[in-house]
């Protein structure tokens, strides 16, 4: 059998031994380098904030910082409560009760996830303004003439911002609470009911406590998004830390001041990450998914109760999706001729091109790092991966500071060197180019790509690797020939989610984009800032349309597997 190859390795023996070593370093070295790049913005913020920057810090502390922090805390408290109540109640109803339309609500409740907070804010501002349909009808019904005749709540307020963000962020809690409820042991629930506890007591003493870690994960994800938001708070003039950061940077022209607010925000980020990680650990303990699916004992609701359940579930869908989409669609229709311009098409192109590029880069990096870990494992690589994927929790505005600082330093250094030795100026190489925007997208959404790629790769048996390798394929060839075809589905999902998140991204794009460069999101933002909501609506509607893609994917997953995994966006 062995005839042909008995002297195969012969003369190349030492060469092969050496080559194997370089091979090892290639993959893990590359992975470490990529991880270092991904964490650079956070390090840069910290280093920059520590530098002496005159008396901006004292000035900030004396004047605005406490205000920013206070507002942010109120906003987070409000949004936290709102997403908790909406998410948990709807999740409990669709998993534990039976009422007309329950199956439909299971995925309808995800729809608001498609709408960025700033878009829903624009829609409701138009909907609720003095000349909008709500106040017009009120005036018509009650015969009021002017603003003096009645009081109407102002949506452009802290309360309004809480409402808006609560409406589009509750699906994080809903998704996780739902799967936690589904995975609860049927026996425990049945035991509780047989011990004479009614539905409410079973909910409060069994269901809720065991689902608590999952809910906490959902709330922390929603709060990360809250902290990240710039469009809504800016439009509503709610001075959170993000709004303050942008104001100090762009308004006062102080990048150092921005970096210092960014550092303060990182404290919040760290707390949220700790909450999330701790809860995820508990979640693993509490939620030991049974291998077989057993239908939960459901409460059959009838009459008034069913009506109430339908109302509770319909409210977030109507308010969080239906109304804003109808408002935007109406506006987009009216303003179509003015909105559908060559400029608009350029913005769409810019958005799509940037997002496709970012998704491709994020996926390539995720694949490289995840595969390196598979090849070489080890604690250092594991830690590097975790550090590299922290970007999802870091607000876009903070990332922007962290990217601009080192990029500008790089540009200045190159420029100075060129001037000195060649007498020419290089101008901006990285900062103020799309490279900076792309970099921010990749850092912020790497975690999504990584999570998807890793879970897809995990499903491929390690013996598959060994089989391919012993059949004569190198590690890279194994990846391309045997892994890629198997994880194609997961990769596509990951690419789609990253793509959509990039399309929606506002603060980092706004702060890092080249001069006179617009994407759909910044275009929408700029028109809205100029109170031209009509002209902004086509763009907003487009963003919502794109945002529906991952929601549809998610809902398909839900209906296919019933027991879906937790947050796949975040």
């Amino acid at each position: 059998m062995a005839s042909v190859n008995t002297n195969l390795a012969g003369s190349h023996r030492h060469e092969q031994l050496r080559r194997s070593n370089r091979y090892v370093n290639w993959w893990s070295g590359g992975a470490l380098l990529l991880a270092a790049l991904a964490v650079m913005p956070v390090i840069a913020v910290l280093l920059f904030a520590l530098r002496d920057s005159g008396d901006i810090w004292t000035h900030l502390v004396e004047t605005a910082l406490f205000g920013y922090v206070e507002t942010t805390l109120w906003l987070m408290l409000g949004v936290g409560l709102s997403v908790f109540i909406t998410g948990v109640s709807t999740a409990w109803l669709v998993t534990m009760c039976r009422f007309p339309g329950r199956k439909l609500f299971e995925w309808l409740l995800l729809l608001p996830l498609a709408i960025p907070a700033y878009v829903i804010a624009y829609a409701y501002t138009d909907f609720l303004e003095f000349a909008g349909p709500v106040q017009r009808s009120l005036r018509a019904v009650f015969g009021w003439d002017s603003m003096q005749d009645y009081w109407f709540p102002n949506i452009r307020s802290l309360g309004g911002a809480i409402l808006m963000m609560g409406l589009v962020l509750y699906p994080y809690v809903y998704l996780l609470a739902r799967s936690a409820f589904l995975e609860q042991s049927v026996n425990v629930l049945e035991a509780s009911r047989m011990l004479g506890r009614g539905p409410w007591r079973t909910f409060s003493t069994v269901s809720l406590p065991t689902a608590r870690p999952a809910i906490a994960v959902g709330v922390s994800l929603a709060l990360m998004e809250t902290l990240n938001d710039y469009g809504t708070v800016d439009f509503f003039s709610v001075y959170t830390m993000t709004a303050g950061l942008v104001d100090v940077w762009l308004g006062m022209g102080s990048l150092a001041g921005g970096a210092q607010i960014a550092t303060t925000m990182l404290v919040f980020v760290v707390l949220l990450i700790m909450l999330e990680r701790m809860s995820r650990r508990h979640q693993k303990l509490y939620q030991q998914a049974s291998s077989r699916y057993k239908p939960l004992p459901a409460y059959q609701l009838g009459g008034l109760r069913a009506g109430a359940a339908v109302t509770v579930c319909a409210l977030p869908v109507v308010a969080g999706f239906l109304v804003p989409v109808l408002v935007l669609a109406r506006l987009a229709f009216i303003y179509f001729d003015r909105s559908w311009t060559p400029d608009f098409q350029l913005y769409v192109f810019n958005s799509v091109a940037l997002s496709v590029a970012a998704a491709a880069i994020a996926l390539a990096i995720a694949l490289f790092v995840a595969y390196s870990r598979r090849l070489h494992g080890g604690k250092i690589l594991a830690l590097a991966t975790r550090v590299a994927t922290l970007g999802y929790a870091v607000p876009g505005a903070v990332l922007a500071v962290g990217i601009l600082v080192p990029f500008a330093a790089f540009d200045n250094t190159v420029d100075a060197l060129l001037r000195k030795y060649l007498g020419i100026s290089s101008g901006l190489l990285l900062s103020g180019t799309v490279a900076a925007v792309l970099f921010a997208y990749v850092v912020r959404f790497l975690a999504i790509a990584m999570g998807q790629v890793e879970s897809s790769l995990e499903k491929v048996s390690p013996s598959m690797d060994m089989a391919a390798r012993t059949l004569g394929y190198r590690a890279g060839q194994t990846l391309v020939r045997y892994h890629l075809p198997l994880i194609r589905g997961g990769m596509l999902t990951a690419a789609m989610i990253v793509f959509v998140d990039c399309m929606k991204e506002l603060p980092a794009t706004l702060l890092l984009r080249p001069f006179n460069f617009d994407t759909l999101a910044t275009h929408v933002y700029e028109f809205a800032s100029d109170e031209m909501l009509g002209e902004a609506s086509l763009g907003s509607l487009t963003i919502v349309g794109v945002g529906l893609i991952p929601v549809v994917l998610l809902s398909r997953m839900i209906s296919r597997t019933r027991q879906t995994l937790g947050a796949s966006t975040g």
Binding site: R13, L17, T470
Partner: protein, 366 residues
Amino acid sequence: MKSTLIANSDDPLAAPRPLLEVRNISCNYGLERAVFDLSLTVHRGEQVCLLGPSGCGKTTVLRAIAGFHPLLTGEICINDQQVSAVGAMVPPEVRRVGMVFQDHALFPHLSVRQNVASGLRSFSAHEQKSAVDDMLDRMGLSRHAEKYPHELSGGQQQRVALARALVPKPLLLLMDEPFSNLDQELREHMGQEVSDMLKENGITCVMVTHDQNDAFALGDHVAVMADGAIIQWDTPYNLYHQPCTYFVADFIGNGIFLAGTISTPTRVATSLGDLESDTNLEMKVDASIEVLIRPDDVVHDPDGPIRAKVHRRAFKGAEIMYTLRTAEGITLLALFPSHANFEISDEVSVRLAVDHLVVFERESET
């Protein structure tokens, strides 16, 4: 085939060199030491099994041989070429080892033919086709060439995996629990079939298993492993009849340990009577020992000196395995032919018929 074995005949020493030499290797699994200073020599055409409970390090050894696991000490040579040393490895793809896995690891997106052809990349299309056709034919898979793995039964998948590993003519075939995914009947059948196939083609093979039946079916030699080391390296017959440690005696086959003392160098006194050894036990007189009693050493004899009650019975077709308990509270395992049919609580008379005594010194505490 045989002629190729003298490919290294320029070696001045006439004795054929072993195909695989594992010398004093140690490996970590995660942060734990999994393999300690282990050595293993496999000659051409030999089939060897690493047998041990899960976590004993046997799979780590296999992975090290294949080139997936680095060494902390020692070296591995295949066909006289050093392929693993401390801090250096020849990558698995150029080692020319074939591998078969517990889960078969067939590429699900490729047909049987494409799977089997995976390792023939450097061949021309024509050579590929004839080599694959030949192998599929030998494995009785010709009818299934265009099917996909999920359309095959467990046994067929197993054959495809074997065909895929063998088609590139590896120097050495490694198998990791190849039969544990198959049901019992198929498992025995495949074990026999694969064993015959390997022998006929003179294929050198190292298999890892936790199942002694698989090991006995396939291994010319079996290495019993525990805690990262080889405890005993022997033929299946000797492992069963002359286990060298308490662990091996306990792990291989059934049986119980009977407490006793050495009364003369060839005689052991137990509570069930004296036992005579056919060899000198080479132990101190009066030493506390335990003697291994296999189920087939306990013979049903109406005039037998030992009376015991049936505590449990397991019907095995031609035979019945009884768990007996004597009045003194000693538990015995006994394998009787099926016609010696007793119910639970029946009283049975037996005698011990042990030809070769396997005796271990009892630890002081027990």
